[in-house]
Homo-oligomer: 187 residues x 2
DNA sequence: TGTAGCATGTAAGCCGTTACATGATTGA
DNA sequence: TCAATCATGTAACGGCTTACATGCTACA
């Protein structure tokens, strides 16, 4: 058990596990991508389609997922479900606390801000404004996801994660506005 | 000009640019790594030593940095400084607002929380507690960096970035505590 | 005298992306 | 009938990490 998968593998197993609670047929690679785009991208990444298929092949090879070709009449499709080994692997992973739980953050705006002294205050403020705009757009998207999950007891954990994301966006908005003002006032 | 470098390349150019304002000799790869470990890792990544050397070679090849072998007597070392082209490239990059300014966040704790329903509340709370502990450790480290920069006018932009990081840690602490309580109360 | 820190590099390999290619089905 | 969406895959490559290898210098 547990040939040490990548985080993204566990994430895919997780999406399958979540789905298994409400459906039986499993998910196609395409559908997994949609789920990832809708929620996972906010606190992880949404892997490229090609990677999802590659990853699913690898997981199938390791007997962590089972694939089943589409029923006749329908468009060609492979539907993936968690195997028992897959479920056990996922549960084992969940029970093992992460060695280094600090998130990896790659913040292009902060990177630029570091060099703000090399640019005009106006252009730095412009970058912050762009960021603020993107933030509110993203926040709204996530807010809609959150709304779909609200009050569904089985979805309370995903709802909490969405809440986390909203809180992050709010905090970013606040500090970006503060820094904007600071730069405006003090250069 | 501008053969489209990776973000990390710009980050390295940025570290060289910051250093150039107070020193003339430039930095060794080793010293760049130290700078990156001290500050950059909080909002970007601190690249592996091997990558820094590889990257510096590439930048030197493109005439964006100049390397100079150590003066005699000293231990063998290559010191890197920004070239004029390098400075121009960096300034051009700074003037071009990022196409997609949303940070990439890979949050292993949020990923696990998404699947909290598969584990016991106690174990999920344990993960959050570990996270909170790491957070406060990290916060303290950054606080010290921040303290070093405080009140030095030339360092006001790096100080702002540090401030940003502190605000992020604070926000994370708050939401993690809230969610911890929520899970404790409602499972 | 020996260990920690300074300093540089090569090799192998993983993870993930973009670009490309193919084809079926639905609905306007 | 034509575009959008569903659906799957291959190839090439970039970025970054770990592991490994080497050697000097300061200092306890």
């Amino acid at each position: 058990m547990s040939t040490d998968l990548s985080m993204t593998s566990y994430a895919l197993l997780g999406l399958l596990a979540l789905d298994a609670r409400t459906r039986e047929e499993g998910l196609t690679g395409y559908e997994i991508k949609q789920r990832a785009d809708r929620t996972m991208r906010f606190y992880w990444t949404s892997p490229a389609m090609s990677q999802i298929y590659t990853e699913l092949d690898r997981l199938a090879e390791a007997d962590l997922v089972m694939s089943q070709d589409a029923a006749e009449g329908r468009r060609r499709a492979r539907r993936f479900t968690l195997s028992e080994t897959g479920l056990a692997t996922l549960e084992e992973w969940l029970a093992t606390p992460p060695e280094d739980p600090i998130p990896v953050l790659k913040h292009p705006v902060a990177l630029r801000l570091m060099l703000g002294a090399m640019a005009s205050p106006e252009s730095t403020i412009g970058v912050l404004d762009d960021y603020l705009e993107q933030l509110s757009r993203r926040r709204e998207e996530l807010q809609q996801v959150r709304a779909l999950l609200a009050d569904r007891h089985e979805a309370r954990y995903p709802a909490r994660v969405a809440q986390w994301g909203l809180s992050y966006f709010d905090s970013e908005r606040e500090i970006a506005e503060q820094l904007r003002k600071d730069i405006h006032d003090n250069g």
